[in-house]
């Protein structure tokens, strides 16, 4: 009987325990599905109601020991939170119950926050017992475990978000670099970089300023027209800058955002801003180099056109002058130069011999040669006196050219039968006349170059006579100033005057050819920096 009674008690007790375990497991399954604290509290409220005799349930949450209690499940009872007592420092829970009236439990949670539970008057029976207190404790532990699960889930989500964000930052850094390098001319890579930097670092705003010396050339804000503060708090701003082509680009980002407010920027934020600034710098440099390459191509095309035009101004063949042998040469340098020579018959039977050199090189020089050619043709046709021709040329060249452009010229009019040569030397190298007695007569400049000053008489005219066997050399400074690899001029090493005296070949073309060979031999591997031009006249009979 005793045994039977004992069995009966055991069976009832086992069933009770089994029921409680089932309730615990079921409760845990429900709590584990909660995605937020509020959901967790709502589920917990249901579990408590179905497993206790309580008529009312109030749940509270406290973020930390000194934070205020927040009611998360409200039964409508006022001021019940005053019953909640924080457990002692080393305790994880505290509870108190007053038979039939209230049951209070405060459970410390894993993140040092607290859940507080106040159960109102028991619906029936003798009220709360020690068994109820133990059950409530078990449910409190259950809540704590589920809360830990919730924190782990939240932490896992934050970790995934953070990892994705890092991938986003790296991908965006690469993409932005590509976008900046592809950005069209006229678009502003520093604006794009500022937008991306703000987005990737969670800055709430930013600015980029372009400064040249003391002058602020540009100030761009992100978001558009939202100015940044001039006195940001420490840690709430990061900056990066670089200088290029005399301009400084200054980037700054303000106020790193978070869901809980503004927070200090991190080291990686600074690295990102620096990297984006470097990308803009590289992009501007590449653009600059690209523009330079395009400009160089354009100039080379222009020069090629100018060189072709200039070449057409030079004679393809020189006229035959009875009793004379004449030859000329023009070897243009890489760049368009300003050398010019010609020999043309005049209506009165004389011949005009011209050699000229425009100061400077390139297209402007070529244009001036073209002007000289046109004016010279017109004036020679009109057969005006040589000094008047020089005066007029000086005037028109002066007005047609910039201040730093002028022309040195040697213009001679040869009367073939008499050998008389009327000439003007406007600032040009002296011509050499090799006399029959082997003496060299220099025909130096007697006036300023054409177009240098607005004077009425730029130079005097002179007259000489070329006898039979005598030779006249006109040349430009491309010959005398031809340099070798040691930067020594041809005329210093081997004076042209001596070459003229020594070399007296049968034909003028041979003389010209020998002269060019001699210069070439002297210069060696040194590049030709200027046009080489010469006109050689030999009176043969």
């Amino acid at each position: 009987m005793t045994v039977t009674n004992t069995r009966s008690v055991h069976t009832k007790s086992d069933a009770n325990l089994s029921h409680k375990i089932e309730a615990l497991l079921g409760g845990f399954r429900k709590l584990s599905r909660a995605a937020t604290l509020k959901e967790l509290a709502q589920q917990f409220d249901g579990i408590i109601r179905s497993n206790t005799t309580s008529s009312k349930v109030d749940l509270f949450y406290r973020a930390h020991r000194t934070a205020p209690w927040q009611r998360i499940v409200d039964s409508g009872d006022q001021n019940v939170e005053r019953l909640l007592k924080i457990p002692r420092a080393k305790a994880s829970w505290s509870s108190a119950f007053e038979k039939t009236k209230q049951f209070v439990l405060v459970q410390k949670l894993g993140d040092k926050s607290y859940i507080g539970m106040v159960l109102g008057r028991a619906k029936s029976g003798p009220g709360y017992s020690h068994d109820d207190a133990i059950s409530a404790r078990l449910f409190g532990n259950l809540f704590e475990t589920a809360y830990q699960e919730l924190l782990s889930l939240r932490h896992e989500k934050e970790l995934v978000f953070s990892l994705n964000h890092r991938v986003l930052q790296l991908t965006s850094l690469i993409d932005t670099g590509i976008e900046i390098s592809k950005i069209e001319q006229g678009a502003l890579p520093h604006h794009l970089a500022l937008e991306r930097a703000a987005s990737l670092t969670n800055a709430s705003k930013g600015a980029v300023r372009v400064i040249e010396g003391e002058n602020l050339l540009e100030e761009h804000f992100f978001p558009y027209r939202v100015p940044v503060g001039s006195r940001p708090r420490k840690g709430q701003v990061i900056r990066a800058h670089f200088s290029f082509a005399g301009r400084t680009y200054r980037f700054e980002l303000h106020e790193k955002e978070s869901r809980s407010g503004i927070q200090p920027f991190e080291e990686t934020d600074q690295l990102l801003l620096d990297a984006l600034a470097r990308q803009v710098h590289a992009s501007l440099e590449n653009r600059f180099l690209h523009q330079q390459a395009l400009e160089k191509q354009r100039i080379e095309r222009d020069i090629a056109v100018a060189a072709a035009i200039q070449k057409r101004l030079l004679p393809t063949a020189l006229p035959i002058i009875k009793g004379y042998d004449i030859a000329g040469v023009n070897i243009p340098s890489k760049w368009v130069g300003g050398d010019y020579y010609d020999c043309r018959p005049l209506p009165d039977g004389r011949f005009a011999l011209i050699i000229a050199d425009v100061a400077g090189k390139g297209v402007p020089a070529a244009l001036l040669v073209s002007s000289l050619h046109a004016y010279l043709s017109a004036y020679l046709e009109s057969q005006i006196p040589l000094d008047e021709l020089a005066r007029r040329l000086n005037k028109v060249i002066y007005h047609a050219s910039p201040d730093d452009k002028f022309i040195t010229a040697f213009i001679a009019l040869l009367s073939p039968e008499s050998g008389e040569v009327e000439f003007v030397n406007a600032g040009h190298n002296p011509a050499y006349l090799l006399r029959a007695n082997n003496e060299i007569l220099e025909l130096p400049a007697k006036g300023l170059p054409l177009g240098m000053l607005d004077m009425d008489i730029p130079c005097d005219k002179d007259t000489i006579t070329i006898g039979v066997g005598e030779r006249l050399l006109l040349y430009t400074d491309g010959i005398t100033e031809a340099a070798n690899v040691d930067d020594v001029f041809y005329d210093i090493h081997s004076p042209l005057r001596d070459f003229v005296a020594r070399h007296r070949p049968q034909s003028s073309s041979q003389f010209v050819s020998d002269l060019i060979k001699d210069i070439s031999h002297f210069a060696g591997a040194a590049p030709q920096n200027d046009d080489i031009t010469a006109l050689y006249l030999h009176r043969t009979s």
Binding site: F161, V167, T171, S199, F222, P223, Y224, R259
Partner: protein
């Protein structure tokens, strides 16, 4: 140029359409979430967010969008993004938003998508 944030919204065929202008950051994301919650509480479960005038989104703004997606998923609802700038599209993809939200080229095509779903 990215402006300061603003939004407009309307409900079409029981579908909330939120159109944003400017930087979707903390302020922008919060404003979108607030507008969403206001309608969600009335039973709206189909939402379109038109980001056509928002070329820049940061991760704080995205966290609000993720919350909206989660709320809708719990309620068997759905969020569809439209008019995405390629850079924003890529950002949302990397952050995994399209695992649970849709995207359509325009608001009209998103409305059509929802009407066919019914």
């Amino acid at each position: 140029m990215e402006q300061s944030f603003s939004l407009t919204s309307d409900v079409r065929n029981n579908c909330l359409v939120i159109s944003t202008v400017g930087y979707v950051n903390n302020i922008g994301g919060e404003a979108i979430a607030k507008e969403f919650n206001r309608h969600f509480e009335t039973g709206i479960k189909q939402v379109i967010i038109n980001l056509g005038q928002s070329k820049v989104v940061n991760s704080i703004g995205m966290s609000f969008l993720i919350e909206i997606i989660e709320h809708l998923a719990e309620a068997d609802g759905k969020l569809v993004f439209t008019n995405l700038d390629p850079a924003v599209d890529k950002m949302l993809a990397i952050m995994g938003l399209f695992k649970f939200a849709g995207k359509e080229p325009t608001v009209e095509s998103a409305l059509k998508y929802f009407s066919q779903k019914k």
